[in-house]
């Protein structure tokens, strides 16, 4: 008996799979499962987070519904995965945020954006908010750089703290020895596996979405989103260095490194989320965790908004729209930061940690 009904079901499925093993070549979930005979809650949460929801084991499986064994591994693991986010959330008092995630995220996003607009308006006079500002320091006419930096650092540091605490709980629960650390080799392996989405490939042919014809579409859009996000993050980091090391103030000319990185990233964050959303709309409902639809779409929407407002700001920054757009963009980024530990963002973190654990298990098995 497990903590939740979905873990009971996941346990039943893993027992079925363990007596079959046809899928062992499809992804990491099955070999990891084979290293166990009984499954603790932590084991099941580990397996759930190893699953990339490629759908292959559903389409390839002789006992999927309508068969009486009624085995649906992708869906069951998707639900278990989503429940695991709440189970490890820090502080636990906020774990409820996962239950009505779409709503909460949109409210926070709307409030943040409104707060920035109102804040700009209240702290400056109207002519500043709707004025045309160009040249270095233009943004800071609306909000002093130090205030901006302080606010975002605080939000970011809080997000990091919450994530670290959650991951610690997860790492312990998935069976690493107390105080056990990941070794460099395993981390490197996991970085590669996560970076190339090694297991979103249905064992080689691609991932299954709306029907039984595999494609690489979801992988492509996920790459665009993920690397778009990283590029945007890099853009911000470079800009911060510019600011503090060389006292060079934003906005920067289009050919300068932060803008180039930001532009590429922004394109990724626009095209990627749209593609992921379209794929999700068309996905076979049998593979979806419908209850968590709001969480997934909320996160996709936040990424899209971040990319979209950022790009709009870049294009229109020399017009009167700059003020409102800056407010919208900062509002979106702020909302993204503070909701990070309580939304779909965490899937990447837990997946990565699960991949580290998997790499570690593989290495110790090969070594023994």
């Amino acid at each position: 008996m497990h903590g939740t009904r979905i873990l009971d079901e996941a346990d039943r499925l893993m027992t079925v799979c363990n007596s079959c093993r046809y899928c062992e070549g499809l992804c990491a979930v099955f070999p990891a499962m084979e290293m166990r005979r009984a499954f603790s809650d932590g084991d099941l949460n580990y397996l759930a987070n190893l699953c990339h929801s490629c759908g292959a084991c559903y389409v390839d499986y002789q006992f999927s519904p309508p068969h009486e064994f009624n085995v649906n591994v992708p869906k069951t693991l998707a639900v278990a995965r989503a429940e695991s986010y709440a189970a490890y959330a820090w502080p636990q008092a906020l774990s409820g945020a996962f239950a009505r995630n779409g709503l909460i995220i949109s409210v926070i996003a709307a409030l943040s954006m409104a707060a920035f607009i109102l804040g700009f308006a209240a702290l400056n006079d109207h002519s500043v908010l709707f004025g045309v500002h160009t040249g270095p320091g233009a943004f800071y006419k609306l909000m002093p750089h130090n205030a901006m930096a302080a606010l975002f650092s605080a939000a970011f540091l809080y997000a990091i703290l919450a994530l670290v605490m959650s991951v610690r709980a997860f790492w312990r629960d998935i069976g690493t020895p107390i105080g056990g650390r990941a070794d460099g080799g395993s981390i490197f392996q996991a970085v590669r596996d996560a970076g190339e989405l090694r297991y979103l490939h249905g064992g080689g042919v691609g991932c299954y979405n709306e029907d039984d014809k595999p494609t690489d579409r979801r992988k492509l859009f996920h790459h665009l989103t993920f690397y778009g996000f990283l590029l945007c993050f890099a853009a911000t980091s470079v800009a911060t260095l510019y600011h503090y090391l060389w006292s060079r103030e934003a906005p920067y000319p289009w050919w300068d490194l932060p803008v180039v990185l930001g532009t590429l990233g922004g394109i990724g964050l626009i095209v990627g989320p749209i593609g992921l959303f379209a794929a999700k709309m068309r996905r076979d409902p049998a593979l979806l965790d419908e209850q968590r639809y709001g969480m997934d779409v909320g996160f996709i929407a936040m990424l899209f908004l971040t990319g979209f407002t950022g790009m709009a700001l870049l294009v229109l920054r020399e017009t009167a729209a700059m003020g409102p757009l800056l407010a919208l963009h900062l509002g979106a980024v702020f909302a993204l930061f503070i909701t990070m530990p309580y939304g779909k963002f965490v899937h990447g973190i837990y997946r990565f940690v699960a991949l580290v654990r998997y790499a570690q298990e593989r290495r110790s098995e090969a070594g023994s």
């Binding site: 007596s19 093993r21 005979r37 084991c57 389409v59 002789q62 042919v205 014809k213």
Partner: protein, 463 residues
């Protein structure tokens, strides 16, 4: 759908799809009629895992060479010589090329990741299993322009003088219709899911059989062909049957209902008596005899009895073992006579001679002075909890079939080859398998003869 095709394929499994693809590649227009709904398409092929092919050298997926001669010797061994040598050798030769051909049709192999089966040298494993393999074949067939209809059960064949003219089918929505074609490939499986037919040879015992695979292989096409003058081959009581968990569903339980634990314990019948040497040979080799052994026991039921020391030595099972702290308690739960089971276990334990237990080889742990003996892996059953799996005969597929020649062309009762009728897969497996079985041969027979049947059917249609 036009109603006249060059080649009509009946069935939807491996044999049918190999035939359809090969006929289409040979330039013919092809229609596949699958009696099952789309989800259940592909009959028993859905449940398979691997394919046995001869090959001269190790490859990425196979650990060593498996020569034609060695394959032939294995076949000879399991069938006890009951095989058509010309046809069998032809199949083995052709199997070499199948390994590559099947990959060209989009099927992917997986490196044998260890597991508990020792087949890494002789058998190639489908990545994702049989249904994944079928999905790939269907995608390829559709891409090539093969028409496929599901829920299309063929109910009658129009055959004149050994010449196929048309098939009648019944479809739930579109109703009855007749389809004409220049050649026919029959790949509709055996009759294992037809309990009434099985009863003709097994009597009421067949009521207690569980059918491991598709409920759609009712042998209707086989029966029509035999009734219309095609020559019969094979012994109707011969089939591939293993012992599977008695709690499995009547049909379609597939691979996960099997048990690998026989060699680690003893097997008793409903009178708590042992009836066969559980340690006769390595399990994968002797796997296929236990279905028949159990079928011959009263009420077609038996119990694998072992103790807690060996539970991690075999594959985990879908159904948990039934447990008792004492042998008597276990017997109670199994509804066996406690005194009888205690006596059997005690006598067995007393007969065990010390040896070095090693389940990976034919070891020297034996019994002395009891019948039947246990000739390897004999160890005392004495560490509670005592455990048991109830087992029944699980029928995989039947061997009675249509006789064919090297072109996969059916032979008529007078010995003449049919003008335009071909057969592949289970429906003609009896040509090669007089009895017995070696893992992966079902798919070899289907792939090799399917490919030939399709090619020859297309050739006939184009002439």
């Amino acid at each position: 759908m036009s109603s006249k095709y060059d080649v009509l394929v009946i069935g939807g499994g491996n044999a049918a799809l190999c035939a359809a693809i090969s006929a289409r590649r040979g330039g013919a227009s092809v229609l596949v009629l699958e009696g099952a709904p789309k989800f259940y398409r592909g009959g028993n092929t859905r449940h398979t895992r691997n394919l046995r092919c001869a090959h001269d050298a190790a490859t990425e997926i196979l650990t060593g060479p498996y020569t034609e001669e060695e394959f032939w010797q294995d076949l000879l061994l399991v069938t006890g010589g009951q095989t058509d040598e010309v046809l069998a050798r032809h199949m083995i030769r052709e199997s070499k090329d199948i390994l590559n051909w099947i990959v060209e049709q989009g099927v992917r192999w997986q490196p044998s990741l260890g597991g508990t089966l020792s087949l890494g040298r002789t058998n190639s494993f489908f990545l994702g299993g049989g249904r994944a393999m079928l999905n790939a074949l269907y995608l390829t067939a559709e891409r090539l322009g093969v028409d496929v209809e599901y829920d299309a059960e063929v109910t009658d064949l129009v055959i004149e003088d050994g010449m196929f003219l048309a098939a009648r089918l019944k479809r739930p929505i579109k109703g009855e219709s007749e389809i004409r074609a220049t050649s026919l490939v029959a790949a509709a499986g055996g009759f294992e899911a037809n309990i009434e037919w099985l009863k003709q040879y097994w009597g009421d015992a067949a009521d207690n059989f569980l059918i491991r695979g598709t409920p759609y292989n009712r042998g209707s096409i086989l029966k029509m062909l035999l009734d219309k003058g095609v020559q019969e081959v094979g012994d109707p009581t011969q089939c591939h049957a293993v012992a599977i968990d008695a709690r499995a569903p009547k049909f379609d339980g597939g691979i996960i209902t099997r048990h690998d634990s026989v060699v680690f314990g003893i097997v008793v019948n409903k009178h708590a008596q042992r009836f066969y040497d559980e340690g006769e040979d390595i399990w994968p080799k002797r796997y296929a005899i236990w279905g028949r052994l159990v079928a011959a026991q009263p009420d077609q039921i038996a119990y694998i009895i072992f103790d807690s020391t060996v539970v991690t030595s075999f594959m985990p099972t879908l159904f948990p073992p039934i447990a008792g702290q004492t042998v008597a308690e276990l017997a109670d739960k199994l509804e066996l006579d406690p005194a009888a089971l205690e006596k059997t276990v005690t006598e067995f334990n007393a007969a065990v001679r010390p040896g070095t237990f090693d389940h990976t080889i034919l070891d020297d742990s034996v019994t002395e002075g009891i019948t039947p003996p246990k000739t390897h892996w004999a160890r005392k059953i004495e560490t509670p909890p005592y455990l048991a799996y109830p087992v029944r005969p699980g029928i995989t597929f039947t061997y009675l079939g249509t006789r064919v020649n090297k072109e996969a062309r059916m032979l008529m009762a007078d010995g003449k080859p049919s003008a335009n009728m071909f057969a592949a897969g289970e429906i003609m497996a009896g040509n090669v398998l007089g009895k017995g079985y070696a893992a992966g041969m079902g798919m070899t027979i289907g792939s090799v003869f399917g490919r030939i049947a399709g090619r020859e059917a297309a050739k006939h249609a184009r002439n």
